[in-house]
């Protein structure tokens, strides 16, 4: 009996163990090695790869990544909360409205990022329209700016904020809202004193689900930042390809993972239990 149950989990363990946890451990290992002469891996075990992270050159990248991820999370929350609230109160068609949020998200992140390239470039729609309206003479550099990257990140991860916030809002007992009104609280007070505090778990879950991928974003800063807005993800990719410094790349990867796990443990433990 129990053997059968264990058999159900075995294939998943094989995949996760060999193709996820194992490789991560390998990378962890590599982070303590040294870059070989021709870009391979050399013997001297060292902590130098980690201390290199403190170098101001890389520090700027780290700071930019955290700021960008933080900004994207904040913007996502501000944009998503009213919509989640509206959908939670929307009655029988709420599933439709949710789907309208979810579906675009699942259709090609790459294409959706490219769409903004198309819109923001010098000969793109925004600039052409602004010029046609006579508001500007020369195209504005909209693409390849921090703003473009922020926009791309927000656009990409907005649904990740809407869903958990909606789930938390939907769970709030309607009676509590009536009780609040019954006790004299006007709608805005009910929102700030009851609804928002009770949706905090959803907000936390959403924030983590947005912040972490944004921190490790690669495509968005690459395509929309044009190589001028390097974030941690780009740095890692670079180390494993062009720069061929795998140990350093591994160290950065591990640092990123540790940051992600720390955030998870601090903020989203319950969210994880609900999902799985």
């Amino acid at each position: 009996m129990k053997r059968l149950r264990r058999a159900f989990l075995a294939p998943a363990w094989a995949v996760i163990g060999a193709l996820f946890l194992g490789p991560l451990a390998l990378v962890g290992l590599y982070s303590f090695l040294t870059r070989g002469a021709y870009g391979g891996l050399g013997q001297p075990w060292t902590l130098e790869n980690y201390t290199r992270l403190l170098d101001p050159l890389y520090g700027a990248i780290l700071v930019r990544s955290f700021l960008m991820a933080g900004a994207a999370t904040a913007v996502c929350l501000l944009l998503a909360f009213p919509v989640a609230l509206w959908i939670a109160r929307a009655g029988p068609r709420r599933n439709l409205y949710l789907q309208l949020v979810i579906i675009p998200f699942w259709t090609s992140f790459l294409v959706r990022t490219y769409a903004w390239m198309f819109l923001l470039r010098d000969t793109g729609l925004f600039n052409t329209a602004l010029q046609a309206l006579g508001l500007i003479d020369e195209p504005l550099p909209l693409l390849y700016t921090p703003g473009a990257v922020l926009l791309g990140l927000v656009y990409g991860f907005l649904p990740f904020m809407v869903l958990p916030v909606y789930a938390a809002l939907e769970r709030i007992d309607r009676n509590l809202l009536e009780a609040s009104a019954d006790l004299g609280a006007r709608p805005w007070a009910t929102l700030t004193r009851i609804v928002i505090p009770l949706s905090a778990p959803g907000i936390r879950a959403g924030a983590v689900l947005v912040f972490i991928p944004c921190l490790g974003a690669y495509l968005t800063p690459d395509l929309l930042g044009g190589g001028k807005q390097i974030m941690i993800g780009n740095l890692i990719q670079n180390q494993f390809t062009t720069a061929r410094d795998w140990p350093f790349g591994s160290a950065v990867s591990l640092a990123l993972m540790l940051a992600a796990m720390a955030l998870l443990v601090l903020f989203a433990r319950r969210g994880a239990k609900e999902l799985l």
Partner: protein, 252 residues
């Protein structure tokens, strides 16, 4: 204030959908510039005639089908195991794989494969990509199937066993049929994720296993391109349709 909310919601949905819509509209533009010059299918023709795109699409399809099949099978079994028994360790690992940044997963798989290549005869190719795709799709399949399982009454399987079915028989005749829409939804989702992946794929693909996203990325890097608009529109609406079906199945 109350009246502003619906307006905001409309603006929100427009923000979400307009960029793609505009892209699609301009894919029919005869001109390669932003000025509208008339309806045309020339870019679609160019896209379908491009050998690189065709090969990329084929590779993506092969990979997606293979990875989906495996991820769905493994994931369904895992979800069932987690439902019946629970394994915080596995659940935690799966959740970790969900939130791990793609680049980290990509480089770690690359490192792992390179380490494996000390054994002769192994190199990067479609198979390395497929395995990578199974890895990152797994958690999504588990989440979807598990959510579906939680809507089922565990007493049903017990009733089946009470009436003489074995554990496997009960699973097969009672749980699996009820689970079918959820499994289908998970499979569609896995397909979509796999088809679209760029970051991880680019790290573990070999020279002759370029996928569609990789071709698209290379084109995008060079700047906006009307052929890209066309292929983008096809992808978005194709995958969009799949996801729509998947969501409908989940709702059943």
């Amino acid at each position: 204030m109350r009246r502003l909310l619906p307006l905001y919601v409309v603006a929100f949905y427009l923000f979400l959908h307009l960029p793609i819509a505009i892209l699609a509209v301009f894919s029919f533009n005869h001109s390669r510039f932003t000025v509208w010059e008339g309806f045309s299918l020339r870019w679609y023709r160019a896209a379908f005639e491009d050998p690189q795109l065709a090969e990329g699409a084929l590779n993506s399809l092969i990979i997606a089908v293979a990875a989906t099949a495996m991820a769905t099978a493994v994931g369904t079994l895992a979800a069932y195991g987690l439902w019946k028994r629970g394994s915080p360790l596995l659940a935690g690992s799966l959740y970790l794989s969900l939130v791990t940044p793609e680049i980290v997963m990509g480089v770690s798989l690359l490192a792992f494969y390179q380490w494996l290549f000390r054994f002769p005869g192994l190199r990067l190719g479609l198979h390395t990509v497929i395995l990578a795709h199974v890895t990152f799709s797994l958690a999504y399949v588990v989440v979807v199937v598990l959510a579906r399982l939680r809507t089922l009454d565990p007493a049903l399987e017990e009733a089946a066993m009470d009436l003489g079915a074995t554990e496997w028989g009960a699973f097969r005749t009672v749980t699996l049929p009820a689970l079918a829409p959820g499994i289908a939804a998970a499979a569609l989702l896995a397909f979509t994720i796999s088809f679209d992946d760029y970051v991880i794929t680019s790290m573990v693909a070999g020279v002759d296993s370029e996928t569609l996203p990789m071709v698209i990325y290379a084109m995008a890097r060079r700047g906006a391109n009307p052929v890209l608009n066309a292929i983008s529109a096809v992808i978005v609406f194709g995958l969009g349709a799949l996801v729509l079906v998947s969501e409908r199945l989940r709702a059943r």
